[in-house]
Amino acid sequence: MSGRWWDDAYQVNGALPVRRLSVTAEEWRPCASGLAAAGGRLLSLWVVPGTPDTAPALVRAAVAIASGVLVLELSVADQVRGGAAEGSTGAGNYPGLEAIFPGASRMQRAAYDLCGVRSTDPDRRPWLRHAAWPADWFPLQGAGDAQVAAGAVVDDYAFLRVQGDGVHEIPVGPVHAGIIEPGHFRFSVVGEKVLRLETRLAYTHKGIERRFAEIGLFEGHRLAARVSGDSSVAYSWAYCQALEGLAGCTVPPRAAWLRGLMLEAERIANHLGDLGALGNDAGFAFGLAQFSRLKEHWLRAIEALFGQRYLMDAIVPGGTAVDVASDVVQRFVGHAGQLAHDVCALRQIYEEHDGLRDRFATTGSVSPTLATWLGIIGLAGRASGQAHDARVDWPTPPYDDVTPAIVVRSYGDVAARIAVRFDEVLESCRLVARLAGGLPEGPSRAEVALPTAPAFGLGVVEAWRGPVLVALDAGPGNRVLRCHPHDPSWQNWPALEHAVIGNIVPDFPLINKSFNLSYSGHDL
């Protein structure tokens, strides 16, 4: 591939540098390989189902490259129609990308479950569908009536079996022994040592992508905020970014800065929770007590500023639903300063604690080479040498003015993921002060016009866990044709499976927490 052929691709409207390129089935894989060779990373792969006789289905792959996001688009005429699944799926409808981007495998399986478009990936096990609806019915195909399998049943999922002397399996979940989301972990172990972990997800699948098409375009940000409740600011922002882009709306500067303030506040709250839980999982209850106290006071500060502890409906198309008073902002900045001071004190305790060091260091390692190959993104990626952050790589307001310092570690173990969190909390406290200090005057919301023709928009926002993506096909009018929200957990769940290999079973909770991946954001 000679370089930069993608620069001529069609530019998608919006704040983010997004290009879109239609390719043929013959070009699909070479294009993906060329992008991968140039350092491109798969952000998401999804399918837009076609309509009978009028439009073919579209397979889309969003790839992160240095200059922005490139969306490759492939038309597929022969998707499987409802009622005809058996036997008609022979060779697959399009070439799979799993050999180029390993993370694509589960996305391709999910796309088949929802849309009836099959890749050539030899792994044909269902991914998002358990047994809740029939295998020959596809929830996102047209407006057909929803079908529900008769009575709840447990399906039989073909886990990969590990064989050998003394190998046994430990099944865990979907209900876990704690206040956490549900999912199933299948460990193959010898003694205490983990040989293999296979995750099975989609227990919290609640039909979000179909739901998007049932509610209005100007209601979608509310659903987006609830894709993963710990990242509601990031998701609602990404949705609005996509919508504002396709509708040709530029948000007022004050709105952009308020959104930045909310996003950093959300990052701080989540990192504080994780830092406490990680101490606790290593037997250091002091850490949980201290950090959960800091988190509680931080949530109260957010509530004092924005009126909610968790900012579910604070970001709306065109800007923000809330504005802030300058005296309250000043108190918030003061709080962030005190918080940074407290976090530094606790960091010193964590770093000097022999017991914690023993549990954190070299546990659950993912080398930079493996991370690059797997395509790990976000926080976990940065802990394994993947120096990417959407705020820095493709700065949109307010990050074009207030530049975050990117935090990277290369050792890729639990300790690295903790170090990244500590650094990012402190960096976000600094950003909070800068954003609050430079908050532009003016309105915090602009009008967004209804699209007059079908249009495509894309939003990417660096949430605390990594980049969340929302791809939106909308209009005309107040209609969502297809909305695909994508969580970085898709790429990072397979990394967890690698990280745990060779570790002991009792370290799994610690390793798992150090990633703290989303179930709901993945299961949709």
Binding site: V148, A152, K206, R226, G273, A289, S292
Partner: protein, 167 residues
């Protein structure tokens, strides 16, 4: 070690004192009295996320933080449904979690209580009922108290638990 001890001393007890006038604290006091009267021991809670977005989980975590200090009110979260008096359920019940939720409930000894947490647990919320969602928790299990909110604050969660054990 010395630094840790110093920190513990300097932060002190942050659980909000049981003074009258503060709504959230009267609830803790009432809860403690109720639990003691009804059970004569700790109230044991098992939580199940039946399909939530994880927002409610964050606030359930918060009731256990040192500020709300639910353990100080004689309530604890347990790992097994066999040990639980009360089931705290979040989310619209996803079709994929229906069986796991029912089995968790069946594994609890009688008498048992169910509290549905959040707008989704109360009504199905924005997700509603569909091929993948059974909607509100009461579509699947008998519910003793329901706590609206998206997500409900820790105080409202404590109120919901109080309502359920007061029945």
């Amino acid at each position: 070690m010395l630094r840790t001890l110093r920190r513990i001393c300097s932060v002190g007890i942050v659980t909000e004192p049981l003074t009258a006038g503060d709504e959230s604290l009267r609830i803790r006091e009432a809860l403690q009295a109720q639990v003691r009267e009804v059970l004569g021991r700790a109230l044991c809670i098992r939580h199940v996320d039946a399909g939530s977005c994880n927002g409610c989980e964050l606030e359930i975590h918060a009731v256990a933080n040192p500020v709300y200090n639910i353990e100080g009110a004689g309530i604890r979260f347990v790992a097994s449904p066999r040990h639980a008096d009360l089931l705290l359920v979040t989310g619209p019940v996803s079709a994929h979690m229906e069986i796991a939720l029912r089995r968790t409930y069946e594994a609890m000894p009688d008498p048992k209580l169910v509290v549905a947490i959040g707008d989704c647990g109360c009504t199905g919320g924005i997700f509603g009922e569909s091929h993948a969602s059974r909607g509100r928790v009461s579509n699947v299990l008998p519910v003793d108290a329901a706590v609206p909110g998206c997500p409900p604050s820790p105080t409202r969660i404590l109120q919901g638990i109080l309502t359920a054990i007061g029945r």
